[in-house]
Amino acid sequence: MNPFNTLHGLVAPLDRANVDTDAIIPKQFLKSIKRSGFGPNAFDEWRYLDRGEPGVDCADRPLNPDFVLNQARYQGASVLLARENFGCGSSREHAPWALEDYGFRAIIAPSYADIFFNNCFKNGVLPIVLPAEVVDRLFKETEASEGYRLTIDLAAQTVTTPTHEVISFEVDGERKHRLLHGLDDIALTLKFTNEIKAYEARRKAEASWLFA
């Protein structure tokens, strides 16, 4: 996993509540057995005018001019500004894979669905929670000012606006540590091998039906 330290990135506003993971990456692209290459199909049904199919070169497909991410001013964005309950629905990790592959390293929203939120941290994408009124203000500032960029500092847990306003955010300490260092969860867990085996031995003794 890529570590996340600081990011100074162009912000793209996706002004919809309850954006689900089916919208972030439609089901036909889940047939891939790979972890990469989902970026061109991120938000496929909103982004293109034709029906997306796996294996088709997206460079030749007609873009939907009404979709916000297709606007010239948001090309190269790495911070996605979103509304409440972002990432709801399916548990597909292809959603953060697609966002990361597209170029987003951070998301700012008032709230997220649990599974999606968790999946982001496994893939070097930082989902930041800010109060709805602050997010609302960031939407207005982003839309009002072309080239609007935010600076995100994970160690300091701050988002800094172009006018040097510093907004603090909360993040779980363990998740922060793993993201800052790009740590492999499994390697860390395997340090508890003895405890896991002791647990199993105890459970086998007290609840053998579980292991029948």
């Binding site: 496994k122 363990e174 896991i196």
Partner: protein, 475 residues
């Protein structure tokens, strides 16, 4: 004396391997369901890192999302889908996992076959790379969906790092009116608390109406917990739970069975246990539900009219409703029972068990008795059993003949048009009465319009060509 605990507390406490000071716990996972879509990258990760599988016996695998529901003997036509299923077969063979392949009579949707096999047991932790894993909470189990990184984590360690959620009690008391099912209860709850109402919570469904529900009904209810934002939903184990599990292929036997049952009888929230939130519904007030928009919370009763965005509670919701009505091709004020459909889908991990098919077959038999069948304006009405065993049971009861006589198609088991990863899908603009769980944009096919309903409501909509109040049909 220990303090009174919720069911969630009990399940959680029994599975903590290691507790960190910050509240994060390493939780032991007893059961792991695996399907073809969210597992290939996890198996690959395990292999690339040179790590070993922790315990093969805890895993049950089957392909379900990509499998065709017709002409299965010919194999999968789509080469990309075929590769994904073959990859699952190869991974399971290499690691010695128990897999029900596409040709196996026990193959089906993971959330149908787990309970059916006695793989899903009360008191266990159960995960799967699928959000509808909440289904298994119906057994008094802690079951939740995970991403592919966590699938790999469980393969390698049999554990997951988790932060404990808060417990929410959803209490439904009283008697459900005739024709009102667990699906209607689930949709009514989501309508009340919203699709994010359960975020950060583990839901426990309780109250006399829940106790009265069959195990199939409880599975339908817990299945939809994730549509209320909760990763896990659960129902206390009782004699119904125990009777359902007894004798199933992977259920404990002999002395193990006796020991298990004694423990399972403790799997309920203690008197006086504290919940962080309580939501109450009166069963008698729940009516047949139909979603009108593109989120499960956009739901009303069949007697209602499509709402006006001007009446939305706030500006964000108003914009949502406007977008939803435009996508759904509906005008505010249209009576729900005047909305005409193009297709009907009876199936999915929400509603493809034997009881669901029986409820839909009642409508099919009624139609035939009236000299009616699927309306001429309905292009396709399909019934997709949840597993090969559900299909066989339905055929033994003659339900397949009831459906076929009424003009429904009788298919092979799989996820099918719930998410349209196989060939079953809606074309742009087509409107579907569906017993599945998500009415998101494009969920059943790009541009498709989904209305979530119960099995009997879907069958009735197929016969009439538009939504009807099932209570009137059943009279």
């Amino acid at each position: 004396m220990t303090a009174p605990r919720t069911l969630y507390d009990k399940l959680w406490d029994a599975h903590v391997v290691h507790q960190e000071a910050n509240g994060t716990a390493l939780l032991y996972i007893d059961r792991h369901l695996v399907h073809e879509v969210t597992s290939p990258q996890a198996f690959e990760g395990l292999k690339l890192s040179g790590r070993k599988l922790w315990q093969a016996k805890t895993i049950l695998a089957t392909p379900d999302h990509n499998v065709p529901t017709t002409a299965r003997a010919a194999g999968i036509v789509d080469p990309v889908s075929r590769t994904q299923v073959e990859t699952l077969d190869a991974n399971c063979a290499e690691l010695g996992l128990n897999e029900f392949r596409m040709s196996d009579s026990r193959q089906g949707i993971v959330h149908v076959i787990g309970p059916e096999q006695g793989f899903t047991l009360p008191g266990t932790t159960l995960v799967c790379g699928d959000s509808h894993t909440s289904t298994h909470g119906a057994f008094g189990a802690l079951a939740f969906g995970i991403g592919t990184s966590e699938v790999e984590h469980v393969l390698a360690t049999q554990c997951l790092w988790q932060t404990k959620s808060q417990a929410m009690l959803v209490k439904v008391d009283g008697d459900l009116p005739a024709g009102v099912t667990a699906k209607d209860v689930a949709l009514a709850i989501i309508g009340k608390i919203g699709t994010a109402g359960g975020t950060g919570y583990a839901l426990e469904f309780g109250g006399s109406a829940i106790r009265t529900l069959s195990m199939e009904g409880r599975m339908t209810l817990c299945n939809m917990a994730i549509e209320a934002g909760a990763r896990a939903g659960m129902v206390a184990a009782d004699e119904k739970t125990i009777a359902y599990v007894e004798g199933r292929p992977q259920a404990p036997k002999g002395a193990d069975w006796e020991q298990a049952v004694a423990y399972w009888r403790t799997l309920h929230s203690d008197e006086g246990a504290a919940f962080a939130a309580v939501v109450e519904l009166a069963a008698a007030e729940i009516r047949p539900q139909v979603t009108w928009g593109t989120s499960p919370e956009m739901v009303l009763s069949v007697e209602d009219k499509v709402p006006n965005p001007a009446d939305a509670p706030n500006a964000v919701k108003q914009a949502d409703w406007e977008r939803a009505l435009a996508y759904m091709g509906l005008a505010a004020g249209t009576p729900i029972n005047e909305i005409a459909i193009d297709k009907a889908f009876i199936g999915s991990c929400t509603n493809s068990r034997i009881e669901d098919l029986r409820e839909a077959a009642v409508v099919a038999r009624w139609a035939v008795s009236q000299g009616r069948r699927v309306a001429a304006t309905v292009k396709l009405a399909m019934v997709v059993p949840g597993s090969g065993l559900v299909k066989a049971q339905a055929e033994a009861e003659g339900l397949d003949r009831d459906f076929i006589a009424a003009g429904f198609e009788w298919r092979d088991p799989g996820c099918s048009m719930c998410l349209a990863m196989n060939a079953d899908r809606l074309e742009p603009g087509e409107r579907c009465a569906s017993t599945s769980n998500r009415n998101f944009e494009g969920r059943q096919g790009q541009g498709g319009r989904t209305h979530l309903v119960s099995p009997a409501m879907a069958a009735a909509a197929a016969v009439f060509g538009h939504f009807v109040d099932i209570r009137e049909v059943l009279q």
